[in-house]
C-alpha cells in the first residue's frame, strides 16, 4: 500500500465564501490509496468544502489538489471519471425507479447496453434493493435511499469514493446497516474511501486513518488508536463496598507505578493509568491491603472526544454549538454543512 501513489494530495487549500466566511484556511491532506480515510469535524469545520474542491464542484481561491493522480483544477474531467461521489443530498430522481437512476448514472459515464444493465442489477443486488429496483425512489425509506445513493456513486467502478456524511439523518438501525456496507466496501480491491462525518463513533469504527478538521484546517491526523494512544492513559473507575479513608487510599495507590491522578469521592475511586487493563489487578490488590473491598471496576479508553478536546481546544459538542450560533442561516437552511 505504501508503494502506491497517494489517492489524494491537497496543498494549502484556501477557500473563502462571500461575506468573509473562511471555509478553508490552508488545508493539507495526503490520503494513501486503498484506505478508508475519515475527515472528522463538527458541522461547518470545512469538511464539505474540502470534498467539493476534491470532487471538482468548486474551485479553491488558492492551493492545489490532485485526486487519483489528476489535478482537480487542470484536468477536472479526468478527476470526474476516477471518482464516485455520494453527497449529503445526492438527489436520486424521485419519479424514476432505482434501476432507472442507476442506468442514467452509468450512461453519463459512457456505459452502454447490456454492460450498464448488468452493472445496475449487480448493484441493486449488492445493496439489497433488488426487490425495490423497479419502484419509484420517492417510496423508498431513508435507509434504502441512502443505499441507492452509494450504489449511484459506484456505478462506474471509481478508484476513489467520497462519502459525505453517509449516515446523517438515518435511524440507528439503518445507520448500523450502512456502517456494515461501508466496511464491506473498504474490503474492495484498491478502492479508496474518503468519509466525512461529524459522528465520532462513525469515524472511530470505519476509518483506518482520521484527520480532525477544525476551523478550516487539519489539527491532527493518525489512526484512531494512535490518536487516542497519544493521550496516554485510561481512566479506571472503582466502586468500593463501603466508604474508605481517603488519605489511606490515596497513599496506597499513589505510589503504584503508572498510576496518576488518584481521586477519591466517597465510595468512588478514580485514577488514570497508562495501561488500564494491566493496572486493575494491581489496584485491586493495593486496595485490599489497605482494607477497602472493591465492588466494581471499569476501564475507559480515551475517546475521540478527548482527542478532539486536546487538539481543537474545545469539546466536540461545544464546537458544533458554536458553529450553529455563528452561522444560523447556514445550519437552518441545512445547506453548506
Amino acid at each position: 500500500m505504501s508503494t502506491r501513489a497517494p489517492a489524494v494530495v491537497a496543498r494549502d487549500l484556501i477557500k473563502t465564501y462571500p461575506g468573509d466566511v473562511t471555509a478553508l484556511g490552508g488545508m493539507d491532506l495526503a490520503i494513501g490509496a486503498g484506505t478508508v480515510f475519515g475527515l472528522l469535524g463538527p458541522n461547518g469545520a470545512g469538511k464539505s468544502t474540502t470534498v467539493k474542491i476534491l470532487t471538482t464542484l468548486t474551485r479553491p481561491d488558492s492551493g492545489t489538489a490532485t485526486v487519483a493522480g489528476h489535478d482537480v483544477l487542470r484536468h477536472p474531467g479526468r478527476v470526474r471519471r476516477a471518482i464516485g461521489v455520494v453527497a449529503q443530498k445526492s438527489g436520486a430522481d424521485p419519479v424514476a425507479t432505482g434501476r432507472e437512476n442507476l442506468l442514467l448514472q452509468g450512461r453519463l459515464y459512457g456505459m452502454r447496453g447490456a454492460a450498464v444493465r448488468r452493472r445496475a442489477d449487480e448493484l441493486l443486488d449488492r445493496f439489497d434493493l433488488a426487490d425495490a429496483g423497479n419502484r419509484r425512489t420517492e417510496g423508498y425509506s431513508g435507509g434504502m435511499r441512502r443505499r441507492l445513493d452509494v450504489a449511484l456513486g459506484l456505478v462506474h467502478r471509481p478508484e476513489v469514493l467520497f462519502l459525505d456524511e453517509p449516515t446523517t439523518g438515518l435511524d440507528p438501525e439503518a445507520r448500523t446497516a450502512m456502517w456494515d456496507e461501508i466496511a464491506r466496501l473498504a474490503g474492495d480491491e484498491g478502492l479508496t474511501i474518503i468519509l466525512t462525518t461529524h459522528y465520532l463513533e462513525e469515524a472511530d469504527r470505519l476509518a483506518e486513518r482520521i484527520a480532525i478538521v477544525d476551523r478550516g484546517r487539519i489539527v491532527v491526523e493518525g489512526t484512531p488508536d494512535e490518536l487516542k494512544g497519544e493521550l496516554r492513559g485510561d481512566a479506571v473507575h472503582m466502586e468500593l463496598g463501603a466508604e474508605g479513608d481517603a488519605g489511606m487510599i490515596g497513599a496506597a495507590l499513589g505510589g503504584l507505578r503508572g498510576v496518576h491522578e488518584v481521586l477519591v469521592e466517597g465510595r468512588r475511586v478514580s485514577v488514570r493509568a497508562e495501561d488500564g487493563a494491566a493496572a486493575v489487578p494491581v489496584l485491586l490488590a493495593a486496595l485490599e491491603r489497605a482494607g477497602a473491598a472493591v465492588a466494581a471496576a471499569t476501564v475507559a479508553r480515551p475517546s475521540l472526544d478527548d482527542v478532539y478536546l486536546r487538539y481543537a481546544g474545545r469539546r466536540f459538542a461545544e464546537a458544533e454549538a458554536a458553529v450553529a450560533r455563528q452561522v444560523p442561516a447556514l445550519t437552518a437552511a441545512g445547506g453548506n454543512r
Binding site: A87, K89, G91, L104, R107
Partner: protein
Amino acid sequence: MSSQALSQIRYMTQRQLMQIVRQPVFLVISLIQPAIWLFLFGNLFREVVELGGFGTTSYLDYLIPGIVVMSALGTSMWAGMGTLEEIERGTLDRFLTTPVSRSALMNANVVQNGVATAAQSVVIVLLGRAAGAAYPGGAVGLLVLVVASVLLGTVFGALSNALGMLVRRRESIIGINTFLLLPLTFLSSSFMAPSRMPSWMRHIADFNPVDWAMVAGRSALNGEPDWGAVLGRGGALLVLAAVAVGLSTRTFRSYQKSV
C-alpha cells in the same frame, strides 16, 4: 457536436420528459387550462369579431394562436421551479461531479422545454379543431405557429431557469411570474385585434415577445399569409431566444462558482 454530447443531451432530456409524463397532475393541468381558456374566452368575446379588423369571421379562429402562445408562456415561465428543486435535492451537484458536459445539462433544459411546448401546442390546435376552428394556412401555418410558441417558450424557460439559479427562492419566481403573466398576455393581440386596441397599448404590444409569437403564428395561419410579418417576428424571437439561453448559461457558471 460530438455524438457523445448528443447522447448526453438525449439522456438528460428523456429524464426530464419522464418527470413530466409521470406526474399526470401537471400534465392534465397544463392541458385542461388551455381548454378552459379556449371555452371561456371563446364564448365571452365571441361577438367582438363583428367589430371587424380580426381578419376572420370566427373569433375561435382568431383566438387559437393566442391560446397556444399564452400556454407556451404559462408553462415555460415555471421552468425555474424545476431547476430550483434539482439544486435543492442535490441532483444538479450530482451531475456536476460526473463527466456529463455542462452544455448538455443546459441544452437538455432547452430541448425538453421545446418538446413539451410543441406537444402542448399541437394538443391545443387539435382541441380547437374539435371545437370548430379552421386553419386556412394549413400544415405550414400550423408549423410556424408551433415553432413560434416553442421559441417563445425557450425565451421564458431560459429566463426562468436563470432566475431560479440566481435567486434560489420559490417565492421570487412565483412573485415575478404572477406579476408578468397578465400584462404580457393582455398587452398583446391574444384576445383583441391590434386595430381595435388603444394606440398606446398597440405600441407596447409591438415590443412584447408574446405578441411577436402570436402575430407570426396568426399571420402564417391566415388564408393569405403575411410572410414579412412571420419572418420579422420569428427572427426577433430567435435572436431573443439565443440571448436568453446565453444568459442562463452564464448564470449557470455563476451558480457553479457559488457552490
